[in-house]
Amino acid sequence: MLVDLNVRWPQNGYSDPVSEEELIKLKTTLSTLYTLGYTHIALNFTMNQSDKFPNNVREMNPMQIEARFKDLMNTTGLKIYSRITLIIDDPSKGQSLSKISQAFDIVAALPVSEKGLGLATTNLDIDILTFNYGNRLPTILKHKNICNCVNRGVKVEIVYGYALRDIQQRRQFISNVRNVLRASRLRGIVVSSGAQSALECRNTLGVSSLLRTLGLTNDQCSRSQGENASLVLLNGRLRNGSYKQVIVMGSGDGEDNNIVNQTGLPSHHPVGKRKLTDTSVAFDNKKAKHNIE
């Protein structure tokens, strides 16, 4: 299975509506990703943390994935998820994450100041830590901060779309990636496209060889788009749909409660760790043991 955790959702805030053209463009991007072999894709909605969110949880997610992409998901077998990225500047202005995270499958943080980075690495209940690779990083990253964060289960994201846009951003991208790789000690890295159009998608062979030239090890390259990324998906969805992140009821291959990461078409071989039968239980072994004790 191949996962792309970052395809830009064409909307900057709740106020501006999505036009039909932009939706078609997005669908074209998704179909290009499908041709390149991706199976699981998350649409990324970026917001400032200090901006106003709607009060109702139902209005919080503007994507309506089921309604808009159902035909595409059926014909291609893609799985599409929703993700929110919060730009964290001043921690004091932020709102509680618990409400926001109910509406989205994955929650990511993008710190743009030193304080914001401190908050994101220590306290926030997020799945992904990401940076703006086109600009300078907010501070010098420290091993301790990032490794703590990775040990908690948060993954650090590298967005290769910046390397494809212009020369200035590419240069910044390379130095930022070097910094992130150094600070994270090559652990818990996730790679995604951040594609704004169909032409910013690349397949794994290209991406992993780019990262290999930047200093990521061979095994981490393949893991960053497969195993690690699927862990993020699993973790994010367990947060909302499970009891204490451990137990889920429902069939693994059902339409409504699809927790395990299986590919959409039955002809593909199942990629989840084990095939779940009806009324089965998804376990996270460590936590389950802990709870029993």
């Binding site: 669908k27 179909s31 014909t75 291609t76 032409l199 780019l210 290999r212």
Partner: protein
Amino acid sequence: MVRLKSRYVLFEVLLSPHITNADEDGETFTKHNILLSHHRPCPKEISIKSLIQEIRHSLQLNFGDYGSGKIGSLLQLKYFSNNTGTGIIRCHREDVDTLVASLMLINKVGDIENVIINPVKVSGTIKKIEQYSIRRSSKLLSLLNKSRKQSALRVNLIDDFATVEEDLEDS
């Protein structure tokens, strides 16, 4: 004397997709359309010459004099077909990562903008990569045929029901 070790890279040129033509049911994003719009035949302007020029340019831009000199010492475009848009490049074994990375960073070929150069496979012998390419193309072709047949089958089924209803009315 140690043999010269080289690698062959199979790549394909994907042109920017314009998925506009709807099929009989009015659906635009069918599997058939998606696959067809990505694998269009390349225009004449994309040739062995323009491709190798673009690759050298990308190497110079991204890896500088050192990179382009090092990789350029053994860089050949062995094969390129405009009909399928696939080609094979030969390079030194140590330089394959850099070459693939520079392929990935290409956005245009000559005057044609909006192009993805999609590296598909790396292999040590040209024979295996040819075999892989043939297998891959035939797989794609059968997938296309299958998806077209499926939509045709759907139309047939609808036609059948129509005739059954008419018969009932007659009797």
